[in-house]
Symmetry: C2
Subunit: 676 residues, 2 copies
């Protein structure tokens, strides 16, 4: 009969596939047609909320300023073009996937690179929170009766993603590519259909909220001068959410097929073009169809059920208007693919985080296991931390995507800005080394990056100014915390490394070896431990027991004689019925009497067939080992005794592949998705 | 500057006191004046709900059958007397504190003793749930505005108790004795005052619910014949909650000062007398004052705010009537001491559980650490399990003490019944050995136990019949589960013990020793591991590294030559970038080539200054050790390297006394409470 663990193994194997040899990694890289949907689900999905965020701000002042929407959309598209052009330079100059962090580290130094890292870490949390919240909005737009379960749905989705990634979900499969294409195709069909209907047919394009009117909030009544400028900038800053996720491709260069940089740059351009077209198209349709969207539903005059009904998302209202109502196939198609692509976008954070963690670990700012992949535990903790913080944000902001977005773009634009200015420095340095055409080409690149840097700097200032009180302060508080944590980790590693530099005395051999075998009963594990200890031919050998229970100790002594064991048994008294302390004291005494003697403590240990059986064994051995390791000149030798059933458990453990880990794809370690 | 752990240490030390040497245990035993309040808080606190439970059942049929209440109270008191007399026999015959479990094991055998154990384990959960729920009721009776937070308060109290016991709360102090005396004194003063007012003054004794009337539930309209009998028996069964906790003293005999049994028996009699007086007195006052108490408040006609206001507990209503209203000092005194003694009663379960666990562990029905006290982890898990199940019950039954009580007394009376019949057998056996006066005395004891056994059997049948559908079935389902779990644990230990009986081959010495030192970098821990490994003079010595990162491996090889290390370095390739598997395979190959060779794997390990620093180190060593221990003929030797700061941590750990543990007092291990 297969054990429970065997059965648990099956689905994992199905999901994980086989681990990949690094010398075969070349075969398993991504063609552009797969890299685009996998890395671009995050930036493309921004289309689902960017238009809406612009409208929300503009409608604070009633409908008077809605005429600004197209101009703001154009500004956002131009910004997108500049940022994409800038990142194409990054992709060529830093093909290792370090992204803005690497650019900052190589061109600005440690402070800037850690600021970028802190920004990106908060960014991953917000990517999960915002994408899932927006995905939930779009699910609710299709099924409004779910509105009251908003937070529950969002938290459930995060839990699902965390669970899938803990189990080893790979993002290289076609399963991740298809939804993005379906989404892009759906939006483009919707845009074309909408334009045709609007310009070439008599059928009107009317959103369900077209008839609502909005009274301006008192403080936005008659905006003018600086207040108006601030208002417009705030709307623009909201629209900048369309740019979130653009850096993903720059971080994923190692996963591309050669020529890696060229393919990544092409994919980046493609992504930029598609995102711009979708964003512009959706914004135009929203304006054609007269979509109204307010921060609070009851600000919409004419929305009768505003207390109980949710507002549908802008994309849902557009889809409904274009495809003929909220029960049309087209409407459900758009809602389903939008929700799906948003969930995929959230999933990219679960892959981006370990990638960044690996780079940070190499520089000793994060636990080193993130780099060596020595243990999945750290990855798992990373996934749980990411999911945990995302859930906290979702619950704190009641899964309200608009409120969450205020926190999102600070990190994104911090990273953009530092990265672009780093590139300007990069070209300065590089240009000194070359002449002629090459130099001119670099100068062009530098101009692009300087333009990108200038614009993103301005946008960052706008964002901080307009969003600070609306939640951005939380990110601006969190970032220094993360920064300090990374500094502390680095300081720890450096401090440890300093302690460990070899010196003369570290090679002195101990004069004598004193073996101490811990004995509890006369049974096979004890006899094996004694035999093994004798095999190491120590200078002195002590069999040691602690008298916790008089009757047990007497029985042990009787057995000891009966089996005629050729080692004297030393009995330690334990007036407080402890086991650990008498043994530690005994060992300390040996070391005190002869400090050059090496003490080897042999601890027999059961290896059980099921992990839960450890509850029934081995607890005091564990405690003893913990205490003994504080003594210099003491080694602790575990003598395992394999109980029946342990061989089955070993096989189960061996069948678990150690790789892959989340983020492997982006590091260029991946299976060939074509093989799946 | 004291570290965080140091500061954490301080309150623990204050609570824990100093550990106690078992050879000084005699000094730290309890005089009767402390044993009574500590062990009897559970049975005495039953007074807080027993009267109420009788009234709830009787008022189902309106007020017609309230005249039965005094007779039922008399029956309960008689039952209490019989049970106390029976337990006095147990205390003398089995002074080791094993209680009904030991009686059943020695006189009936394994099945009966495990049934008792299962009953007692469910009983501990219900003691916590019922006592805390009733305590909450009495807090709410004083502050009705807290009614809506009932479940939260109850869960909070359980969490508080669990936390205090996890931190090592001792129950031997005067702090535990005083509230019980205050409670007893308060109730007795209330009874005397009430009687004086009722019989000797003109002042009337009128409960706030005296004026309410109750229409019988349809099915209780005109009870007669069997239905009436069943109804009366059900009310009687409800009153039997007054007996819960009586067995506590029988389980606590080892904690008494000598002559232990005599003192315990005296304390038991005292407890019985006080409990009977309090129960009878409160019941009489409730009837004098015309207290009405219904299962659902709105069944009380005249209770205007029944939808929003809670019913006050019977004891609260009596206190209010006797002491002049619900803002009198007397009222608050009674409520405060009642709530406090109920919380202490819940706490006794946290001490009783490890005691039973220790006895069960000795017989191999529970993890053996519960007996040897090798590790507090198991105790902690026990506390968490107990608290967890209690919280589940509280939440499932919305902290409704009446509904919870239905589940309570099944376990109690199962244990009573089996224990008493076991005593009958015990005397049969003992009587064969003696003659004359001694024999006659034993016969008297046997008659008492037979009477106790008969009556508790009848009561158990009544309880099961009348309470089965009201929740008792849950206990009757849980008990077989616990029974089977204990059987499985026992089977596991027996099976392991069978495997471990020494045989000829277990003493064969390995032919050769092959030491393998794992190397990552050339630093002090590595050099120490190499030096120690060389000190053990193995037949063969291999320094082993895994090539996970080409650059790192080349750097290691360069250092290896630079430091001129006199051992060859073997580099294992790791195409999948794993560390564990190549090492395990290497070791397996050695064993395959020469099966009589002993392989000793030396793993350098950092000992960090703070537990959280382990996140930054040692993870792959841990994983490797786990895998290697499945290989027979392999020992894993940890070579600790003490980082700076580890000495401070050792001191912190050493300052933590290993004892005491919950339940120690009842096992006769205790400080002298007089010293505190």
């Amino acid at each position: 009969m297969p054990s429970l663990s065997d059965l648990g193994q099956l689905p994992k194997r199905l999901v994980l596939g086989r681990p990949v040899r690094s010398d075969k990694a070349g075969e398993s890289l991504l063609p552009k047609r797969l890299a685009l949907p996998i890395f671009a689900s995050d930036p493309l999905s921004s289309v689902a909320y960017a238009t809406q965020e612009i409208l929300i701000v503009l409608t604070l002042a009633g409908t008077a300023f809605l005429f600004l929407a197209p101009w703001l959309a154009v500004a956002v598209v131009l910004l997108l073009v500049v940022v994409v052009l800038s990142y194409r330079q990054v992709v060529h100059a830093y093909p290792s996937g370090g992204g803005d962090y690497e650019v900052a580290a190589k061109n600005h130094g440690r402070f800037a690179s850690l600021v970028v890292a802190s920004a990106l870490l908060t960014d991953y949390v917000m990517t999960v929170a915002v994408s899932v919240a927006s995905g939930t909005d779009n699910i609710i737009s299709a099924f409004p009766q779910l509105a009251e379960h908003r937070v529950l749905i969002a938290v459930g989705l995060v839990a699902f993603l965390a669970g899938a990634n803990l189990r080893g979900l790979r993002e290289s499969g076609k399963g991740f590519a298809v939804p993005t294409y379906l989404f892009v195709a759906g939006i483009l069909v919707m845009v074309v259909t909408g334009f045709v209907r609007y310009f070439f047919t008599d059928a009107s394009l009317v959103a369900e909220s077209a008839g609502y009117s909005i009274t301006p909030e008192p403080e936005y009544g008659d905006l003018a001068g600086v207040a108006l400028l601030f208002f417009v900038l705030r709307a623009f800053a909201s629209g900048c959410t369309a740019l979130t996720g653009v850096e993903a491709i720059a971080n994923g260069v190692p996963a591309f097929r050669p020529p890696k940089s060229k393919n990544a740059a092409t994919t980046l351009a493609l992504m930029g073009g598609i995102a711009a077209a979708m964003f512009a198209g959706v914004t135009a349709l929203a304006l054609f169809a007269n979509v109204k969207y307010a921060e609070f539903p009851c600000d919409l005059e004419g929305f009768a059920d505003c207390e109980t009904q949710p507002q549908r998302t802008v994309i849902a209202q557009v889809a409904s208007a274009v495809f003929g109502g909220d029960s049309s196939v087209g409407f459900f198609y758009i809602q389903a693919t939008t929700a799906l692509v948003l969930i995929l976008a959230a999933n990219t954070a679960f892959n981006g985080f370990p990638l960044l963690g690996s780079v940070l670990a190499q520089d000793r700012y994060m636990p080193k296991q993130l780099h060596t992949r020595g243990d999945k535990l750290v990855y798992s903790n990373g996934i749980l931390l990411l999911a945990g913080f995302a859930v906290v944000m979702i619950v704190a902001f009641e899964a309200d995507s608009t409120r969450l977005i205020q926190l999102y773009i600070v990190g994104v634009f911090t990273s953009f800005t530092i990265g672009q200015w780093g590139m300007v420095r990069h070209w300065n340095r590089e240009m000194k080394l070359v002449e002629g055409a090459e130099r001119a080409r670099m100068r062009r690149s530098q101009v692009i990056n300087a333009l990108g840097g200038s614009i993103t700097t301005i946008v960052l200032v706008i964002i901080v100014l307009t969003k600070f009180t609306r939640g951005a302060w939380i990110v601006l508080v969190a970032m220094p915390f993360i920064y300090l944590l990374m500094r502390q980790i680095n300081r720890h590693y450096t401090h440890v490394a300093d302690q460990l530099v070899p010196s003369g005395d570290s090679r002195t051999l101990p004069a004598k070896v004193h073996a101490v075998v811990l004995v509890n009963k006369v049974h096979k594990p004890t006899l094996r431990a004694l035999a093994f200890a004798r095999a190491t031919r120590p200078d002195q050998l002590t069999a040691l027991t602690v008298n916790v229970d008089e009757a047990d100790t007497r029985a042990l002594q009787a057995d000891w004689e009966r089996y005629d064991i050729p080692v004297a048994l030393t009995v330690l008294e334990s007036p407080y019925r402890e086991i650990t302390r008498p043994v530690v004291d005994f060992v300390k005494d040996i070391r005190r009497d002869s400090p050059r003697e090496l003490v080897v403590v042999f601890v027999p240990q059961y290896v059980v067939g099921h992990w839960w059986e450890n509850v029934l064994h081995n607890q005091s051995a564990l405690r003893l080992r913990t205490r003994l390791q504080f003594q210099p000149g003491v080694m602790i030798t575990t003598v395992p005794w394999q109980l029946e059933g342990s061989r089955d458990r070993e096989e189960v453990l061996l069948r678990q592949p150690e790789g892959p880990a989340p983020g492997d794809l982006r590091r260029g370690f991946a299976e060939d998705p074509g093989e799946r």
